[in-house]
Amino acid sequence: MTKKILAQAMKEWRLFRRDKLLIVLAVLMPLIFMSLAGLTSSLRLRNVKLLVYDYDNTPLSRTYIETYGAAITFRLVSHEINESPESALASGLGRAALIIPQNFERDARRGSEPIVQLMIDATDSNAATALGNMAQGLNASFGRNSGLGWTAQRQLAKLDNRLWYNPGLSNPIYFGTGALGMMLIIFPALLGALATAKEYEMGTIIQAYASSLTAAQWIAGKALVYVLIGVVEFVICFVLGMAAFGYHIPSDPSVLLVATLFYLFAGVFFGMMMGNATGSQSAAIQGVQMGSFLLSLLLSGYLFAIANIPVQIRWFSSVLPATHYIQIVRNSILRDVGWSTSFRPLIALFVLAFSFFAMNVIQMRKMQFKG
């Protein structure tokens, strides 16, 4: 039984080894993709271009502008003298425009409340909301510092924040761990899909149907190689993560390792399922691209919290292996909690891997010659 699986795996390995480009890609892709995914996906705003229209031009208005300039969120940019804020925003010269009215200082000193307008380009509504809130905060701090309108007031309570697990609020740490999950679902699944679809295209699948291997053995043998390649990628990614994204080896690495194996199997089986179902390499790739890459990228909690996904489609994220795996990775690497917390997602991963496997077996069995 195991001998047959191993023999099938050896055959698969020899086929893989012959393709030099594949080997290069298998090593390069994790490196490129991890660094890109970890470093470019950030929802935290910095250096947003802010156009300033100061129609008052007094010491106070300049101090007000300085408050914005000092925040790392905003970067003040210049504009043509005659250009209206609307047209400047429409041409993308800035993401927001701060408009200070005439008599700003006079009104403030008199005690009537001058209104400063902040026009925000809301094409990206999330960023726009964040900028609006940021401006409110800056405005309040300007009020406190300049002593305008703020009667000395007693603070009853103040907040004392402890940011656990990620005290620097660093985004690369968060996305870096997610990127590991993204990386490990793409490549093994792709290889599985391609290898299976190729058998259909070349017609060699008939040999598998006719051989004495059972469907389960054939599938397990094929998958084994790609899972092992996945393990190598895991090691590469982890080393990169330690160098670039602050990974550290968890005090109990066993959960992570077991989860990685389940996850890789789930990915490869999913890919093979696509290969079996479509029987053509390009269609199988499209299937993997849609089914594992795009869906995992957007619905697995890699980019946006799962709690934000509408209930009608939230069930979708729980059938994505990436959802559970990313959670385990974050539990182990960042929170350093062990089996008790990660147990549920681990079971989910196992169930998913097993059901993908079962679907493969069912697909294969239909075609296999009965001896």
């Binding site: 809301a122 009853l156 390009s282």
Partner: protein, 386 residues
């Protein structure tokens, strides 16, 4: 000229017939725009709400309960449980049952009555830096409300007074500067508009490159490329004929995507539609160029597809379609100028949401068409060299 047109038509007919025989490909091309746009338009929402808040109340007095009340009026927090000691709350945070918890000190009421400032400890699971930052902001604002509504009056009166003032937000004292944000282009702050326009552009580009590389390599794999190279047709004509059906299909896909956006998400189209079409055509050409180029360097469909898969994620991530370019590290920001998709995203958003003036869009359009011309002719050159 007549001969050219004849040959071109003959080759294009051959391609169309091949495409007709391959309904799978047609489905691949037509289904994603609708399904993907609808799912992602509804699903992607980076707003943070319903944070699970735990409270460790070690004080257990009227004051502390008042305080909890004031903080949790905020709809963004759901108080899941009130604990009496820190241990269980810490465990709940560790096992992901809570997003954050507050600790109210034992002598909270005494400190407040004495006129000092009590400090409240907040422990936040900051693994997701973005959410943690937003949660901090919510708490800070709730805290300011609590301090302004309670701080100015003697503590004994606080409850009554707050009930009275609760109907409106505490007004800023006279003289304070007020900042009033105006959200233009998307005053309702519809999140879907941002993603729908982004995903639309991604689909245009990536589908074109995937399909083109698949078609170009297939000829090579089945060996029919030799026959093609022996025909009197020039390589340029051949490539043109080969890509025409894909190109036409991509244009259809683009308008299907726009239609979906308009019908399902009320996406406004404020600018010139021809601009949208021209930029889409350029992007499709650039995508096809990349696809064919990849096909020429690879030996099998497997290799070609994998290479496209390697090229596409960086193009997607750097384009600013899903996350703002300003947030990226300096180096990646510079790199994004090399990304044709970046310009398509700018134009698509400019045309649909912003009605951006011609002066703002033409540079992007010029660069995008330059990309299209360069990538396409380079791929033709590579194709000839085979």
């Amino acid at each position: 000229m007549g001969a050219f047109i004849r040959r071109y038509l003959a080759l294009a007919t051959k391609e169309i017939q091949q495409l007709r025989r391959n309904p799978g490909l047609l489905i691949q091309l037509m289904i994603p725009p609708t399904i993907v746009l609808i799912i992602f338009g509804f699903a992607l929402n980076p707003r943070v709400r319903d944070l699970r808040l735990g409270v460790v109340d070690q004080n257990f007095t009227v004051e502390s309960r008042d305080f909890i009340d004031a903080l949790t009026q905020n709809v963004n927090f759901n108080v899941t449980r009130v604990y009496s000691s820190i241990g269980p709350a810490e465990n709940a945070l560790k096992s992901l049952d809570l997003d954050l918890f507050l600790v109210i000190p034992q002598d909270f009421d005494r400190i407040v009555k004495r006129g000092q400032t009590a400090s409240i400890q907040v422990v936040i699971d900051a693994v997701d830096a973005n959410t943690a930052q937003i949660a901090q902001g919510y708490l800070q604002r709730a805290m300011e409300d609590y301090n302004t509504s309670t701080g100015a009056v003697p503590v004994a009166e606080s409850r009554l007074r707050r009930v009275l003032s609760r109907s409106t937000h505490p007004a800023p004292p006279p003289g304070a500067v007020e900042v009033r944000p105006a959200y233009i282009y998307n005053p309702g702050l519809v999140t879907a508009w941002h993603y729908v326009t982004g995903v639309m552009s991604i689909i245009m580009f990536i589908n074109a490159s995937l399909v083109a590389s698949a078609l170009a390599v297939k000829e090579k794999e089945t060996g029919t490329i030799e026959q093609l190279l022996m025909t009197p047709a020039q390589t340029g004509e051949m490539l043109l004929a080969k890509t025409t059906p894909v190109f036409v299909l991509m244009m259809v896909v683009m308008f299907v995507a726009l239609g979906t956006g308009v019908l399902v998400f009320d996406l406004p189209v404020r600018g010139a539609v021809w601009m949208f079409a021209v930029s889409g055509a350029c992007a499709a050409l650039a995508g096809i160029g990349i696809g064919v180029m990849v096909a020429t360097v690879s030996k099998s469909q497997q290799q070609a597809q994998l290479l496209t898969f390697c090229v596409n994620p960086p193009i997607t991530l750097l384009s600013g379609a899903t996350s703002p370019i300003e947030n990226m590290p300096e180096f990646f920001q510079k790199l994004s100028y090399m990304d044709p998709l970046r310009y398509l995203v700018t134009i698509v958003r400019g045309v649909t949401l912003k009605d951006a003036p011609w002066s703002a869009l033409w540079p992007s359009l010029v660069i995008l068409s330059a990309f299209a011309v360069v990538l396409f002719s380079f791929s033709a050159w590579r194709f000839r060299k085979q």
